[in-house]
């Protein structure tokens, strides 16, 4: 495979991840190759334990593969040092977690602004614009525990977008939500993708998978179909 940098946001070649344990090695990911083009909305589906989260973590530079190669926007991740990968996470990637991952001591607005602090940027109204976009302007000074699950996940999405990433990665973003609140999150992801954002989600939710333009099925660490 020869990924073209201007087209592919993600290009992976034979990604393998082996978790070494005392008793046995777990081959969580076994030679996965894939390409995600700019502006795509991709859903990764598959049974529990198939390796979906493992794959998403590798794509998000949150963990290192045991073997294989990965390019993000044409740059090979393995050739970057820790600083380079931190820079990539901070500037080019946005991550949304199943359990929201909001910092409980910070307000909604401060949570959204947190990646700006790490990037040493000023907010210049960006936090307000994003909160308006996810429909939570009125809750900006609330603490996470005062919000519903759906609202928390929308805050998390706003936070993932604050540094204007090239790629949004979401691991079961509706996994902890009921179908009604999940709908709002799905609609938000669709809207963001329609505005040009590249989105990769891992999900068990058929509604979310259906919203994606392309589905990748993962089973036993391999891509099927």
């Amino acid at each position: 495979m020869n990924p073209s940098p201007d087209q592919a946001v993600v290009a992976a070649e034979a990604l393998t991840k082996v978790y070494r344990r005392a008793a046995e090695d777990v081959r969580a990911l076994d030679g996965v190759s894939l390409t995600v083009r700019r502006g795509e909305f991709v859903a990764i589906v598959g049974p529990s334990g198939a390796g979906k989260t493992t794959l998403l973590n590798l794509l998000g530079c949150m963990d290192a593969p045991s073997s294989g190669r990965l390019w993000l926007e044409g740059r090979e991740v393995q050739q970057l040092n820790e600083r380079g990968r931190t820079h990539l996470r901070r500037e080019r990637l946005g991550f949304v977690f199943q359990h929201f991952g909001l910092v409980p001591t910070l307000t909604v607005a401060e949570n959204v602004a947190l990646p700006l602090v790490f990037a040493r940027r000023t907010a210049d109204g960006r936090v307000s614009r994003l909160l308006e976009k996810v429909g939570l302007s009125s809750r900006r000074n609330h603490r996470p525990h005062e919000l519903s699950g759906g609202e928390m996940q929308r805050v998390a999405i706003a936070r993932a977008l604050v540094n204007e990433p090239a790629l949004l990665l979401a691991d079961e973003p509706t996994g902890n939500l009921d179908s009604v609140t999940g709908e709002a999150v799905i609609a938000l992801l669709r809207q963001l993708n329609a505005e040009g954002l590249t989105v990769v989600v891992v999900t068990h939710n058929p509604a979310l998978a259906g919203a994606a333009g392309r589905q990748l099925r993962l089973a036993d660490g391999r891509l099927a179909g």
């Binding site: 989260t53 949150m62 996470r89 977690f97 199943q98 602090v117 790490f118 990037a119």
Partner: protein, 388 residues
């Protein structure tokens, strides 16, 4: 929002735990500061008292020299005495600038439960007492029946110059010639009379309790001491040795104070260590989350360090403020258990001491942050997706 705000919020997350760590460290640093200032001040005051006398050597009767010197300096009576020829020999020595003979005699007042100390001196005494200043009356005895009173004694006896004063032990009546200024030394509680008169009245003709000596040059000390040592029935004590006596006396007390300080500091530091360690380890997933959001390793460590330093430097400051304002009070309380405590003990905190206390607090914070920081650095950001 910045890292300081972020750190403050984390400290406020468990207010009781933070408060306990804060109080523990503040108390430890306060205790350390007060006790260190106390020990330093104690030594300094003693040394000042000795230096002020301008006396470098003392000739005392054979016996325990340290005991003798300590007694003379503190204005107490000796059992043995020196022969009168000793004074002439001392004054002949080329290294001696001034030699003041003393005869001390205690007059016990059984009905008042105290003893008056009468001291016989001659004209050479004021030369060795730079602070010897007359407040009222004459500077020297106008007759052999004259007496000069220390300031405390004058108040106690309610006597002014010209008044008469009866000494029951000698069965003699004296005329008060002068009253001395307050000096803060043992002189304040002494009765001074002419040496010859004292020897006669107290049945010690020709005898002396001690001879205080000032040299022409302190460098001559060893040489002079060797020569004076040869005087029969006498021995030489240097004030440096006397200082040693005092230090031995307080040695045990000081060791005890240090032990208290060390225990307090150890407990305080361990409390902070425990608090910060627990606070960081229970937030391991949150730290991984920060990494996932784009924080670098150094930013995570910095966030933790700011948190630790805020807590420990605030505690160090509080401890020092407590020591500065409550220190005098604590020192007064402790003073009762210290032998030979000087009048003024309340010692202000010195700059090095303040620096040392702040360093200790801040150092504790940094150590407390180091270990969990290393853990946080090892963690892959992926941990965040599993647990957060």
């Amino acid at each position: 929002m910045n890292l300081v705000v972020f750190a403050c919020r984390n400290l406020a997350r468990r207010p009781w735990r933070t408060a306990l760590a804060f109080v523990g460290l503040a108390a430890a640093i306060g205790t350390l500061a007060v006790l260190s200032a106390l020990t330093a001040g104690y030594e300094r005051e003693l040394r000042k008292e000795l230096d002020r006398s301008g006396v470098q050597l003392m000739l005392v009767p054979l016996g325990c020299p340290y005991d003798a010197a300590a007694r003379v300096l503190k204005g107490r009576v000796l059992d043995a005495s020196l022969p009168a020829e000793a004074l002439a020999q001392v004054r002949r020595d080329p290294a001696v600038a001034a030699a003041a003979p003393l005869l001390l005699c205690a007059q016990v007042r059984t009905n008042e439960d105290r003893a008056d100390l009468w001291v016989g001196i001659d004209e050479s005494a004021p030369a060795l007492k730079p602070w010897w200043r007359v407040q009222r009356g004459k500077a020297w005895f106008s007759s052999t029946n004259g007496v000069i009173l220390g300031s405390e004694v004058a108040t106690l006896e309610m006597r002014a110059p010209g008044d008469r004063l009866y000494c029951p032990g000698a069965d003699a009546t004296f005329t008060v010639d002068g009253v001395l200024d307050r000096s803060g030394t043992s002189d304040d509680s002494l009765f001074f009379v002419p040496l010859g008169r004292a020897q006669q009245l107290f049945g010690q003709p020709g005898r002396l309790t001690a001879i205080a000596i000032r040299l022409r040059d302190p460098a001559l000390l060893a040489e002079a001491a060797r020569r004076l040592q040869a005087i029969p029935g006498a021995q030489v004590v240097t004030t440096t040795e006397v200082m040693g006596v005092f230090q031995n006396l307080i040695g045990t007390v000081r060791a005890l104070l240090s032990a208290v300080a060390i225990v307090a500091v150890t407990v305080g530091c361990l409390t902070v260590l425990n608090t910060l360690l627990a606070a960081v380890l229970e937030r391991a997933a949150e730290l991984a989350l920060l990494r996932a959001l784009g924080a670098s390793r150094s930013q995570v460590v910095l966030a933790l360090a700011v948190e630790a330093l805020l807590l420990t430097s605030a505690a160090a400051l509080a401890g020092l403020l407590g020591a500065a304002f409550g220190g005098a009070w604590i020192q007064d309380a402790v003073r009762q258990w210290i032998p030979l405590a000087p009048e003024r003990l309340a010692t202000p905190l010195s700059l090095p001491l303040i620096g040392q206390s702040i360093l200790l607090g801040v150092g504790t914070g940094l150590v407390a942050v180091l270990y969990p920081a290393v853990c946080a650095l090892r963690m892959a950001p992926a941990e965040a997706t599993r647990t957060a």
